[in-house]
């Protein structure tokens, strides 16, 4: 049986960088490390801007930082895609098959320019 990831690996990456919760809190613009502690104890999920801020702080993609949440989201989407393939809408079925087989997807065009 494949074991699921933890909801997030914030504590692991913080410890690898040898910084305290209050240091990360300062970089996020918070006054104390309470929020960081709650994220690390999986009792609270950060909002999207905070997720990207954490990605910048630790230099790790959000999908790796929040591996458990990412796995859950992917499983749900794949389940819905499998339903869609069996459904009556051919356009949705074609798109759902692309979701299930990303290698068949055409290369994406860049939408933003890097500075």
């Amino acid at each position: 049986m494949h074991k699921q990831h933890l909801p997030n690996y914030l504590r692991t990456h913080r410890k690898r960088h040898r910084v305290g919760q209050r240091h990360v809190a300062f970089l996020l613009g918070s006054k104390s490390g309470t929020k960081i502690s709650r994220y690390e104890q999986f009792s609270r999920i950060p909002d999207l801007p905070t997720v990207f801020a954490l990605e910048v702080i630790y230099g790790v993609p959000a999908s790796e930082l929040f591996a458990g949440i990412f796995d859950d989201a992917r499983q749900k989407v794949e389940e819905h895609a499998r339903h869609a393939i069996r459904g009556p809408d051919p356009m949705l079925a074609a798109f759902a098959s692309l979701v299930l087989d990303p290698s068949a997807r055409p290369p994406a065009k860049p939408t933003t320019t890097s500075s």
Partner: protein
């Protein structure tokens, strides 16, 4: 000797001491997820130690809890308090359905080919560079033991578990 492990097998290793407990959490043999020493002193320290281990079990949901072997026939020189604490950790893990494995000090020394825990700590710090700054210097004879060594004791227990493998543990249980 190689053993087949689930790459995400979650192992929690705990090494209790007089002033708290050292712990290490692994997801597979090379992925160190969390480590540290929890200071637990003075009032109700046994109860608080068990509560802390229960919290770790709740947070990480490990597949295996690894503790030091504490059979009396192995001539383990640990205080009665620590032996009782190890029993309490075992029952806390069993209550949650977590398998509990015991690794003897002899097995750890055999795996690391060393009889000195500071040497073992140095080897572990090389293997897991993120723990390097926690590695304590060898203590002088007049000094008491650095609490950070308990982190490396826990790391050594988990690493030994991954090295000797579950087959060895099953054989030992059957014997």
């Amino acid at each position: 000797m190689k053993h087949s492990f689930d790459p995400n097998l979650c192992v929690l290793a705990i090494d209790p001491a007089s002033r708290g407990l050292g712990y290490a959490v692994f997801e597979g043999p090379d992925a160190l997820i969390d480590w540290g020493f929890r200071n637990i002193r003075r009032v109700r320290k046994d109860v608080r130690s068990v509560e802390y281990v229960e919290m770790l079990l709740r947070r990480y949901k490990p597949d295996v809890l690894v503790l030091e072997s504490f059979d009396s026939d192995n001539h383990v020189h640990r205080s009665p308090r620590v032996l009782a604490l190890l029993c309490a950790f075992t029952s806390a893990a069993t209550k949650r359905g977590t398998r509990c494995e015991r690794i003897s000090r002899h097995a750890v020394r055999a795996v690391f080919a060393s009889s000195n825990k500071y040497e073992i700590a140095r080897k572990l710090a090389v293997r897991f560079p993120e723990t390097k700054h926690w590695c304590p210097p060898p203590r002088k004879i007049w000094q008491s033991e650095d609490t950070r060594i308990n982190i490396f004791d826990a790391l050594a227990l988990a690493s030994t578990y991954f090295t000797v493998g579950p087959e060895f543990m099953q054989r030992r249980r059957a014997a």
